[in-house]
Amino acid sequence: MSAVTRIRPRYVVTLPRALRKRKNVKVGDNVVWLPVSDREFLAVILPSDRYQVLADLMRGIELSHEARLAAENAYFSSAAKKARH
């Protein structure tokens, strides 16, 4: 399935009908645009309850001292790996 839509004034774009039906997209849902290249975006459609979406995306994440140290270790070990190459 492919479709072309025109960017209207104020950069408004309508989601193609075929896409709306096929993907069960609802008015009020969130569209997150992730840049892929200069002319490409990945559009991710998420439910309207953004706080619930955040709960799903960040499930299991905590801010204990141990969790913070694990994040810090992941960050520095990644940097060290790059430095070795």
Partner: protein
Amino acid sequence: MPVVESEFLLALRADDRRHKAAIAIFDNYPALEVCAAAFLEIAWLLRSKSKTPTEVSLTLSLLSAELENRGVAEIPVSVSQFGRAHDILTRHSMTFFDALILANAEESRDRRLISNDDSFDSVGTVERIPLR
């Protein structure tokens, strides 16, 4: 204007025990700033839990969009803040991300940080407002 950090960003989750407190912060403080360093910490908390790069990107985009919609200004991370963070680490016991967040928050207008993390208190450069 007070500054929010990682704890606040996590509290935006619907099921977080401080979610109501976070929403109340939006209502009680019409002008807020956010430490960009907090996004770095959130990204690496997610990475350390094996979240995919797309999931990390989605999460940061949603958080950023929420704060932008609420008019929360971002304090960018700078090279001098990285230096300052390491300076803090030589004198105080805290994680690197905490030190970077503190260095970031020190550049806010009124140096008030919304956080329950009392490790910031030992440095004494910001006034901490508990997130309750």
